[in-house]
Symmetry: none
Subunit: 208 residues, 4 copies
DNA sequence: TATGAATGAGCCTTCATTCAT
DNA sequence: AATGAATGAAGGCTCATTCAT
């Protein structure tokens, strides 16, 4: 049955769904999740009210799909620490990862805006997804710290707490300089370095 | 007209208002701001619907009052850096401040929960209050860093970014260990130290 | 028991009731009947909410009392046609009555405003009072016309319809020149004459 | 997109709107404007609450639409005075106009009821519409009187006051015999003549 | 499959009235 | 008698979701 007709219909479906996702992303980031109505989304997408429900079960569902796609992109920014001999130094790997994450955040401003502003506590499913992501990030850092402690480059510390500090630093900085920032004078590279420098060496003079 | 009758009535008013604030705090933290209706609040407070409106203009208003009182408590936790000769070392002052903040957060779990979860982007007035608080905290840290740089104990760095990292660390840790934590095994003192240690000396071995 | 205390209390009661009536009249004419709340009345009268209900059963009740007093004043403006030999001519009597009515309307602008604007159809009791008044006025005119027909000065006509025309003329003119009028250039005397002239002789030339 | 489906939907919309207008007219005239709730209207129309808001913005809006349609019908009853040689006499033209107006009023009893009872002072937009209509009627009469004065058939008089008397006569008679009347023994033709006779010749004997 | 009219639960808010003090 | 806090019925309105076409 994969004749021209059904193929056309299928591509039509894909197209419609994408249009709805894009429209949702736009109005969500503009008005916020709660202030956005289904009407807003379908108006933006130029489809009928009922059509929405042929692609998504609810407002939450479409948001979840947007969030999942963002998180999936972010996940792929986080790669395990390369412990091979010829790998770049740990510091460089960390900076690169932080930078890649900021890059994704920056490239998806409209959806990250709403994630930062309203996603937390919005719904159990949403929370689970976010926890998964933040948990993964935390785990990545904890692992990196453990590796460092193994080879003696990282001092004794509460790995989990420190990992959370790093995650929190990234969230706050991303929020401040990517989301709220009116000015565009944000240099992701520089800030990534600053975060990693702080993490590795602290603020005290002469510690390197 | 300050006779017994009106004095009793006045104290009754204060009592009722407090009851509503407490009830609101409870249901807000349980269901979240948006999911909470005026009905939920008055049911929890065991008063009639109309009574709510004798004390508050709207849901936003009562939330704002809760938030303002939390922030006022937090504000008083942040004291300027003491630069006198006989003052305790900077590190101790920082730890003490972080700890005081955590203490307030911990003591006001139900309202901080909702603040952490939904307050951002909820409303312009709410945002202003939060920005004020976080701005104050950031400013406190920037000042402390500048002082350190002045006396040569703090290395060159982007003070604002670093300040945001520290604020973010505190938010994330507070959220993780105070709000989401099922387990009560949180040691605010220890975590305060860990944050400050990380901030001052980083994670790299032998830097002290 | 008519001692000083109770007499004082009694005069206090009368005073309070009058204050409420005056206050009600003021706010009714300012905001209209429906837009006026009990709160508006008691605020204007500077008494407590509950006090209102010690003097009146409801908003309708106090309005009814205001209306009754207006109507009673108007009633006394309408005196039977004097058929005695030495009485002034019918025409003069009619002009005088119309004028007296306009005078009362004019002197009670604040309450007549609301009567003209909202009283009709407001409530059965209110309607009954108004019908009574308008009926009385109609009856007065019908009688006058019958008298005129009896002595041959009034031509054959449908007395009731004509009476209603006259009542309607007075209502419309009063509304237009007393209530809605921004300008104060209204001459009640002149208009009374105009109405009676019209009624007696019509608009056609040379009919006198 | 003007296919069968949308055409059917469109006619359905028109039908529903008409049903709501009819229902509103019924309950308004039965209970009065203020005493009527949206619930009353939708109950009468047998549609859901929300449906109302697909067609009208508010109670005021639907009333305004009813009023506008009544006034538009009334407007077309008022035609300019025909001054041509072969035109029917002024008196006949006046009677015809009065009669046509009474006919419209009579045919729209339920909406005119509410207009007579509560429309004045109900709302600025409502007032404007009514003023427009009454103003138009007054203007028509003033013009007719001026014409009569021009050709010498109308005596000197205050045209505006007289015009208001005539408008008032019509209102009162319409109210009395069309709206309040339990009995159906109202002869619009006869009454129209009576009004015009009165207006032209007054009540005094032998003036023709 | 697309449509959009219809639905009705549920929200916020007002306000006349009651009642304990 | 005066007070004013408390009440709760009732109103207007929104909006996610359903369903006949």
């Amino acid at each position: 049955m994969n004749d021209g007709r059904s193929r056309r219909a299928e591509s039509q479906r894909v197209y419609r769904k994408a249009a709805l996702l894009t429209a949702a992303q736009e109005v969500f980031s503009e008005r916020g999740y709660h202030a956005t109505s289904i009407t807003d989304i379908v108006t933006q997408a130029s489809v009928a009210r009922g059509t929405f429900y042929q692609y998504f079960d609810s407002k939450k569902e479409i948001f979840l799909e947007l969030l999942a796609s963002l998180i999936s992109e972010l996940q792929s920014s986080i790669v395990g620490v390369d412990q091979k001999e010829d790998a770049p130094p740990l510091e460089q790997q960390l900076i690169a990862t932080v930078y890649r994450i900021f890059d994704v955040v920056s490239a998806n401003r409209s959806i990250t805006t709403i994630v930062f502003r309203e996603a937390v506590g919005l719904d159990q499913d949403v929370d689970r997804l976010l926890q998964q992501f933040y948990g993964g990030l935390e785990h990545y850092i904890v692992t990196a710290l453990a590796v460092g402690q193994g080879v003696g480059t990282v001092r004794p510390l509460h790995r989990e707490v420190v990992a959370n500090c790093i995650v929190g630093s990234m969230r706050q900085v991303a929020h401040r300089y990517l989301i709220d920032a009116q000015e565009e004078k944000f240099d992701a590279k520089h800030i990534s370095e600053e975060i990693v420098q702080l993490t590795l060496h602290g603020v005290v003079t002469g510690q390197n």
